[in-house]
């Protein structure tokens, strides 16, 4: 009975806890050299047991009765220890949760910093792009899709410039319609090539395409979902195409209207997407440290942006195709020249604006 070997008592939780109290009590007996005191302790303990209230569980009472030296005190100690364990475990879980949240926030911060770095690099690229034709690829760019596009676009602008000069020469030289048709086809094909390039880079980074950072500043001023408005294109072309037949006027008029309607529909779809992303990001309690669920959901919704960019380019492509169908070869050649020249002038405007002399300071 005095042995210090741990015995087990079923606790209220059904967990069997070792009773070291036996040892303690054993020690008390050992340390107390006075037999009288020991006896009185036992007596006291026995009295306590008899006065045990019904609040103690049946198992506890049974076990306690088995070990007469243990009174209600060791059971209290067990309960206290259990409560302490629970508290410690709870605190540990809270600490772990806080640590994980900290890690997640750091990860997000890292992603943000990387994006800012990429943006800064692109800004550096843009400054180079102000000078017409010098779209130099930046080998250190984080996104290789963007670097590839930058280089290809630089070449595209150069080819565009060459094609415009060829068209101008051809129209003035009054070459045959068949030869002119070849120039028209390659001109239209060149725009289609741009849409293909944009589709590829949109998959890599749709924000890059939409921002229009790859274009000059004046071009960007007119940007609509990553490019020019089809209806704007028609406004630039049509005055250059006189004289048009009655049939052609009607068809161009219909094309203008359907273009406008399609643009409106896409614009409203884009607005809806903005609303959706905005409310997702803004949702949830702001006094919580973690905003990961909101941002993660917003990521999914942003996927739709790629289809809008693609659809806008599809509209541009269809508009060019329809104009090519409606017009004669010669008119189409004049139209392409007008369009190409328009963008060339916008780029020149950008350069001029960027290099204008500083405002004289007032005396």
């Amino acid at each position: 009975m005095n042995s210090p070997t741990p015995q087990f008592v079923p606790s209220r939780l059904g967990i069997y806890e070792p009773i070291h109290q036996i040892g303690i009590w054993g020690e008390n007996f050992k340390s107390n050299g006075n037999p009288n005191t020991s006896t009185s302790v036992i007596v006291e303990v026995d009295n306590k047991l008899e006065n045990e209230s019904e609040t103690t569980s049946h198992e506890m009472l049974t076990a306690s009765n088995n070990y007469k030296q243990e009174a209600s005190k060791p059971i209290d100690k067990i309960q206290r220890r259990l409560a302490q364990n629970r508290e410690a475990a709870r605190k540990s879980r809270l600490r772990k949760k806080a640590y994980v949240q900290q890690l997640e926030n750091s990860r997000l911060k890292l992603i943000q910093l990387e994006q800012e770095l990429q943006r800064a690099r692109q800004q550096g690229l843009y400054m180079g792009g102000v000078l017409e034709g010098s779209h130099i690829g930046f080998s250190g760019t984080v996104n290789s899709g963007i670097a590839a596009f930058e280089m290809e676009y630089g070449r595209w602008v150069d080819v565009q410039h060459r094609q415009i000069c060829e068209l101008r020469t051809a129209l003035n030289a009054h070459i045959s319609d068949i030869e002119l048709r070849i120039l028209v086809e390659s001109g239209i094909g060149h725009y289609f090539e741009l849409f293909r390039m944009k589709s590829t880079v949109a998959k890599a980074d749709v924000f890059y395409v939409i921002s229009g950072v790859w274009k000059t500043s004046a071009e960007r001023f007119f940007s609509w979902i990553g490019g020019f408005r089809p209806s704007e294109l028609l406004k630039v072309l049509v005055p250059q195409l006189d004289p048009l037949t009655e049939q052609q006027i009607l068809e161009v008029c219909n094309l203008k209207q359907s273009c406008q309607q399609a643009e409106d529909a896409l614009s409203q779809g884009m607005e809806k997407l903005q609303e959706t992303v905005s409310s997702t990001v803004a949702g949830g309690p702001v006094d919580e440290v973690s905003y990961i669920p909101q941002v993660a959901t917003a990521m999914e919704k942003l996927e739709a942006l790629v289809s809008f960019v693609n659809q806008a380019d599809h509209l541009r492509q269809e508009t060019l195709q329809q104009m090519s169908r409606i017009l004669t070869t010669r008119q189409a050649a004049r139209g392409l020249l007008a369009l190409g020249e328009y963008f060339h002038r916008l780029r020149a405007l950008s350069t001029l604006w960027a290099t204008r002399p500083p405002e004289p300071s007032l005396p």
Binding site: E251, S258, H314, E318
Partner: protein, 101 residues
């Protein structure tokens, strides 16, 4: 598949959509501008939505939404509708179903 084809023939202009899809919203706006009220089925709110999605994909709609049927026949997705509209072919198809207002 049967559900899709039977729903597609229920009305002159039928649009399969998802309530969360913004491109579907754009197509709805276009029809509104053309004075047409399509019968809209939000497949993300349909208990058989997953089967309908598979059926639409099998019919060639990669989205699978928006999917537009006119006169019970599949016209296609946004691409096809836009091409048709710019070429002037959409309005004649919609004429019988346009409201007068």
């Amino acid at each position: 598949m049967e559900k899709v084809t039977s729903l597609a023939s229920e009305k002159g202009v039928v649009l399969f959509s998802k309530s969360s899809c913004c491109m579907c919203y754009a197509v709805k706006i276009l029809f509104q501008e053309l004075r047409v009220t399509p019968m809209v089925h939000e497949i993300d709110q349909d208990p058989e939505g997953w089967e309908m999605e598979k059926a639409l994909k099998r019919l060639g709609c990669n989205g699978p939404v928006p999917a537009i049927f006119i006169g019970g026949k599949l016209v296609g997705s946004t691409n096809e509708v836009m091409s048709l509209h710019l070429s002037g072919g959409l309005l004649p198809m919609l004429k019988p179903y346009q409201t007068l207002c």
